[in-house]
């Protein structure tokens, strides 16, 4: 069998790390991702199956962490589910087996680039990047927003901890936008 080498969204072997002032931007490629959307009228069924499988289904605009599954809300009766890539590379198959025909599941891992942002306080950066009222948003807030014309998902883990999902095809542009805004903020 051919020996295949995995590449990150930025086309490298190693995840990118950028440090701008107090902000550290870390690319993550150890996260598996899939979407789960309830089929019409089968929400109760999905809730039961998700609970049994340990998949959280948080309320609107929220993220719920867990082991191995974490999830954030993206639309009514639809979520993105995260898990460690090492154990859940086939996350879509694993979720599909858990929820059956109550929900539609799509593989999302290779459609996105993931950046974790860390700083003592990310508010000066987020207010330059997007429309989210970051200081007012609670921890666990998750929302789709637009950064430099690119649709992204933003998850607030804390005042100084944010995860951003952007389109993998725009990975370099998104990283550039984050770096430029960080350089402007500090």
């Amino acid at each position: 069998m051919a020996e295949l080498q995995a590449m990150t969204a930025l086309g490298a072997r190693q995840a990118a790390v950028a440090v701008v002032g107090p902000v550290t931007i870390t690319e993550r490629f150890d996260v598996a991702l899939a979407s789960v959307a309830a089929r019409r009228g089968r929400m109760a069924e999905l809730e039961g199956a998700a609970k049994a499988a340990g998949v959280p289904l948080p309320e609107a605009a929220r993220y719920t962490g867990g082991t191995p599954y974490s999830a954030f809300w993206v639309a009514p009766e639809m979520w993105f589910v995260e898990a460690p890539h090492a154990t859940h590379e086939l996350i879509a198959d694993q979720l599909k087996a858990a929820v059956g025909n109550a929900a539609s599941v799509t593989e999302q891992t290779d459609a996105w680039v993931v950046f974790d942002l860390a700083a003592p306080d990310l508010a000066p950066l987020m207010e330059r990047l997007c429309n989210v009222d970051f200081p007012a948003a609670p921890d666990g807030f998750a929302s789709r927003t637009v950064i430099e014309h690119m649709g992204c998902y933003l998850i607030r883990h804390g005042r100084g901890q944010v995860r951003i999902y952007g389109a993998r095809s725009s990975a370099q542009s998104l990283l550039h936008a984050l770096e430029v805004a960080a350089a402007a903020a500090w």
């Binding site: 609107a60 605009a61 639309a75 429309n131 929302s143 789709r144 637009v146 649709g151």
Partner: protein, 94 residues
């Protein structure tokens, strides 16, 4: 202008795209409606000075379609509903 999204709370109008009169949701059945009825749906719009129901799309958010009841004179927004719920309340299945 702030639109109070029924699920996500207050959001800046800048996040939304405006489509127009919410009457667009009531497309006649192409198999049974006459040409006059279809022409009316496609081309004719009321232009009220006052309360108006409009379709807004949350493009920079959860991408839901909303029906916003807005006063075109004062810009006051009196009601915001999910277009899905409005359609279902009229007996539509989708």
């Amino acid at each position: 202008m702030i639109i109070h999204h029924p699920i996500l709370g207050p959001r800046d109008a800048q996040e939304f795209v405006y489509l127009g009169d919410a009457a667009l949701m009531n497309r006649p059945d192409g198999m049974t409606a006459g040409i006059e009825e279809f022409h009316d749906w496609l081309y004719n719009r009321d232009n009220p000075a006052g309360e108006h129901q409009e379709l807004w799309y949350h493009e920079q958010g959860d991408r839901s379609w909303l029906v916003v009841t807005r006063n075109t004179v004062t810009h006051e927004i009196t009601k915001v509903e999910l277009a899905r719920d409005v359609a279902r309340s009229k007996g539509r299945s989708k």
